[in-house]
Symmetry: C2
Subunit: 203 residues, 2 copies
């Protein structure tokens, strides 16, 4: 049974908070009452930051990463090598790769992976815009950095087929044992792949 | 290691979302990116509702329940019996009792329970204002509806001592087996209490 609240404002906040993923009405009420107990600035700061976030953030017209400007900071950076495009699924993946500080190229965010079961075909994703970016020239390498799942592999293969007649080099992330993981706990497919793709010893 | 974001707006929203209980930086980022993927109205509606909530809601000057007005709807309702005060710990407890539709009196929200270990003494709670309400007269019964825990019992006893010299009747919630629970799973203290406090059979 839905609880009725004496306050329309509380009712409103609870309904809006329930839009967050993993937040039901009970949790939403807990969050709202928590905010009411805190200093006024907490709830108002949170509320305003969400409005600013959604009003101020747009997507980079080149790579589809989030950006506060027409072109994102990565694409706009003259130090980045524009001839290497790292293809990722989401904006979060861009952050993950940026945090490694190992990549000096640019990105292309697909916005998802091909998944017929979820009704996501190539046309729902930013694949055509990737092909256009490559066709526009000056691209030497496309790095497929999608998750090593069925959907990721399908998408990798689809993109590979689209690009195979161009003269860009298409590469993908190496697959092998995770750093810090024990061999004992690594699945056999990964282990087999790590053996096939072994590299010269280096400290 | 803290992730760095390319966007100050995203950074801001993540920091503000982390103020919510049980939300760390990773969850906050997930929530922010979720809001960015949704329709603009979702994030803006949520943000505005939190600002409205915190700016519009105050506490009833009589019972300390949340209210959009100086006096909450319960206290302002002429149909409610002002001579019966149900003493509860939190605003949420008021909602729980209101949902039972079994109480026609008014409330008094303490804002917590006496808990020396957490540094919460009687003066941090709305106990003095309760005593004043009773002293002001016209109160016949004070119902102690606090949690049946050590802190609840301590607070019950403290309030009882404060009111024992007045001529109000002090009552407390009955303790017994929960409706729908199996005897087998009921703890022996509750079971013992339910036997001592047995009531005439009624369908």
């Amino acid at each position: 049974m839905e609880q009725e609240f004496s306050s329309r404002l509380l009712e409103n906040a609870v309904r809006e908070l329930s839009h967050l993923p993993g937040v039901g009405r009970k949790t939403a009420l807990r969050l709202a009452l928590h905010l009411l107990r805190q200093d006024k600035s907490i709830a108002i700061g949170l509320g305003q930051s969400l409005i600013d976030l959604r009003e101020g953030i747009t997507y980079c017209s080149t790579c589809h990463n989030i950006s506060e400007t027409e072109t994102c900071p990565v694409c706009a950076n003259p130090m980045r090598d524009k001839s290497k495009i790292c293809v990722v699924e989401t904006v979060k993946d861009v952050m993950s790769f940026e945090n490694t500080r190992q990549f000096d190229g640019v990105y292309h965010v697909l916005g998802g992976l091909i998944s017929p079961i979820d009704g996501i075909g190539p046309d729902s994703l930013e694949i055509n815009s990737l092909v256009e970016r490559v066709a526009a020239g000056n691209i030497k390498e496309v790095i497929l950095a999608l998750s090593p799942t069925m959907e990721g592999d399908t998408t990798n293969f689809y993109i590979y087929r689209k690009l195979m007649d161009t003269n860009v080099t298409v590469t993908q992330l190496s697959r092998g044992v995770s750093v810090g993981n024990e061999i004992d706990y690594t699945d056999e497919v990964t282990l087999g792949r790590s053996l096939i793709n072994r590299v010269p010893f280096a400290r």
